[in-house]
């Protein structure tokens, strides 16, 4: 072998050492699994043995007769209109709040337009930090801080959407064609003009597409926000579950499911047209 090829090839391990390495890795993985199974008290046998309890729950949820179905659809379903509208409203406001707040963050957190490299690093770190905490945890925190209700949901989604949108949009801004930007600068344009006429037109369609994506995510989140007390249809679901009104809960889950599927479908179509 020539020195060049040994330098570029990965360090070779002898077959015996490789075997040993695999053995150690295998033992480590087995150990992690044993510890995890003990920590969660997860036992496949018990899960299967008690599976009938789960099936029993499902049986109690699904209305058994045609009359029950009819009754639920004519009497209970109309009462769900308001909570479902609230769910959509929470998702809408959370997305809108995130879209507005993300714009300044994007400008700070994009390498090619940031006012200073240190600002860039701080803004990017802040963005990543916010995203490590799930939206529902923010919701639980806001419920404790400002009280039960849709406002907590909106605040939680706003915080989380801001970080997600800022991340997606800053990647789009960093990928813009630098030509127009340089042209505007060369013609004596201010940095505001560079943003307005160089960056914005290139990024806008992508930004709207990201907003739609975040809206989809927020709709999904807002259907369950109520389970932690942050308003919307989830709050109704939790109420019905705690009252053991399983048939009503089933109607809620069914409608939620259809709604999520429908919105995914429509938003997917719009995004296809945008980009």
């Amino acid at each position: 072998m020539t020195p060049r090829s040994t330098a570029s090839a990965p360090r070779e391990l002898g077959p015996r050492r490789l075997k040993l390495l695999w053995l150690i890795a295998g033992i480590a993985v087995a150990l992690v699994y044993a510890l995890s199974a003990r920590a969660t008290e997860f036992n496949l046998w018990i899960v299967l043995r008690d599976g009938d309890m789960f099936l029993q729950l499902i049986r109690e949820m699904v209305p058994s007769t045609k009359e029950r179905w009819l009754h639920l659809l004519t009497h209970y379903l109309p009462r769900l209109k308001q909570p479902f509208l609230q769910t959509a409203q929470i998702a809408m406001l959370g997305t809108a709040g995130g879209a507005v707040l993300s714009v300044p963050l994007v400008l700070l957190a994009s390498r090619n337009v940031t006012p200073h490299p240190a600002v860039y690093v701080i803004a990017k770190a802040l963005m990543n930090l916010i995203r490590t905490i799930p939206d529902l945890l923010y919701a639980a925190i806001f419920v404790a801080a400002v009280g039960v209700g849709p406002l907590s949901g909106v605040l939680a989604l706003t915080v989380f959407s801001t970080a997600v949108l800022a991340k997606l949009a800053s990647e789009s801004v960093e990928a813009v064609d630098p030509g127009p930007l340089e042209a505007i600068r060369a013609a004596g344009g201010t940095s505001l003009q560079v943003l307005r006429h160089g960056v914005a037109p290139q990024v806008a369609p992508l930004f709207w597409s990201h907003c739609l994506y975040v809206f989809e995510v927020n709709i999904r989140a807002s259907t369950v926000l109520g389970l932690v007390g942050a308003g919307g249809i989830g709050q109704q679901l939790q109420l019905m579950l705690s009252l053991f009104q399983y048939e009503n809960a089933f109607v809620i889950i069914l409608v939620t499911f259809l709604l999520v599927v429908a919105i995914d479908f429509v938003a997917g179509r719009i995004r296809e047209r945008l980009v």
């Binding site: 997860f42 899960v47 801080a145 499911f257």
Partner: protein
Amino acid sequence: MSGLARSAARRAAVAAVIIVLCVWAAQGIRLDIQRIGRGLPAIVNIFALMVPDRQWLWPAIEAMGETLAIALIGTTIGALAAVPVAFLAARNVVVYRAAAAVGRQVSNAIRAFPELVLGVFFVASYGPGAAAGALAIGVHSIGMLARLYADIIENVDPGPAEALLAAGATRLQVFRFAILPQVLPEFIATALYRFEINLRSANVLGLVGAGGIGVVLLQALTLRRWGVVGACLLVIIAAVSAVDYGSAWLRRRLV
């Protein structure tokens, strides 16, 4: 020019619709800007109170161990159960032509079902605890993993399989020596990515009683022990960041 004017008019119309919708939504939930303005200092104040309580750091880390275990067991359940669904759903395997369509629809349906609701179900039927959380994560993961696995299977290079078939190998041998070596690293990389998502979900599942650090956090929130909340958040941020980083590193080496 008329084209430009038309697109400007369309943009204005879309903006108007969005603004009207937002105003409608704000009225719907009785959003009061003044109230938010007054409440903002209080919120900032609470976040300032979340200085991690040192005494609670170790209990939080222990609870995070349970959360990690929930995510691991859940991801493993999902990753194993997704394999048969994926082979059914892959269009180039085709056991029965209808199976591919059914497999895709099943994985889509599971995906649309929020894991928090699954968590509530499993807590209701198996009792509160980490096992219910692991099950919820496992079942929910099947949907996305099966879809991604099916895509991986559809991108398999058919060359080796054809060569083995021509040499008279059995179907099982073709699977073992031509298909599996191609798909396995990507399967594992995809499962690792799902593990990152599932760790976030496992943090949340505690809020409905499904074990892990979420349980500690919920108690701290209901008792307004902001120092404990801070300790939990610190541990969550550290664990999620570490797992994201480690998993990204592993995935880069795998694929």
